[in-house]
Symmetry: C2
Subunit: 155 residues, 2 copies
Amino acid sequence: MLITLDPIDRHILRVLQRDGRISNVDLAKEVGLSPSPCLRRVRLLEEAGIIDRYVAVLDPAKVGAGLTVFARVWFKTQDAEVTLRFAEAVRRFPEVMECYLTTGECDAVLRIVTADLHSYWRFQADHLTRIPSVLSVKTDVPMETLKRSFELPLR
Amino acid sequence: MLITLDPIDRHILRVLQRDGRISNVDLAKEVGLSPSPCLRRVRLLEEAGIIDRYVAVLDPAKVGAGLTVFARVWFKTQDAEVTLRFAEAVRRFPEVMECYLTTGECDAVLRIVTADLHSYWRFQADHLTRIPSVLSVKTDVPMETLKRSFELPLR
DNA sequence: AAAAATTTGGCATATTCTGCCATTCGAAGA
DNA sequence: TCTTCGAATGGCAGAATATGCCAAATTTTT
């Protein structure tokens, strides 16, 4: 299902990416519509799957998830069986926020969230490297956040 | 400001991480409270900064941001001046969703979003490698998404 | 230029939010 | 164990918001 977004749609999406809980009345003012057609557009964007969902963004440090680690993983082999088992394992770990299969230098990239370095090492030693598919892991540990955005660029 | 979260708070946070636009009435039912104390708790979580914000999550592929790339960057030097200029440049690029300074193998890790491989190469050639601080860049290009979560693990 | 299709704005109703107050619950002390 | 005090809860009333419908306006098509 492909939908062409006009400038008002993009305006709506920009606003909702910044404040997903803005009232429809205020959103309508912001984009220069009356509430009815504004709500109609939002519903269409939702039904088309362009708006996937609404979420609350928590402060990681304040809920004991202050450390983000990027891990690159090498598999023992690249066959479908190994990949599938890796995927299943990874989906079970709540610490793994994102996981992608890559081509090139490594086989998978993960974004992992834990409380601190100690609990990350425990996770890596006890869980990540124990997934049978995993040959080795290299990590990049962020020391400082320069940017963290939730707004996809529109056009 | 440190706040101790009781099981109900965590329940609220779990629900809001999945559906940031649930009505307070439904949220209250879900966590077993009446609407008043439920809303009061949500407001406290917001004021404490535990809930940072609410956002709409868009489908990247449907808004022309289908490709996520992880880039590792090496600086020419690691002094504060270079780092600062890099930070300023990176914050200006809407394609850069996340950027962290790292210690260890590389100097910075970025998550970059573009429409496709071609527009990524243009971004890297025209913008990223032209930041004066940047010595070299290595990229990991995801071929498939195994997991993409927006829920920080709570405890 | 006329007609069709889409989009818009306004209105009425239902639902939800918000602030206030009495009550209840739980912890600390006698 | 009983009493007291503070915090959290539940319910209520008024305000604000969401929702669905229909006529008017706009845009597109012929």
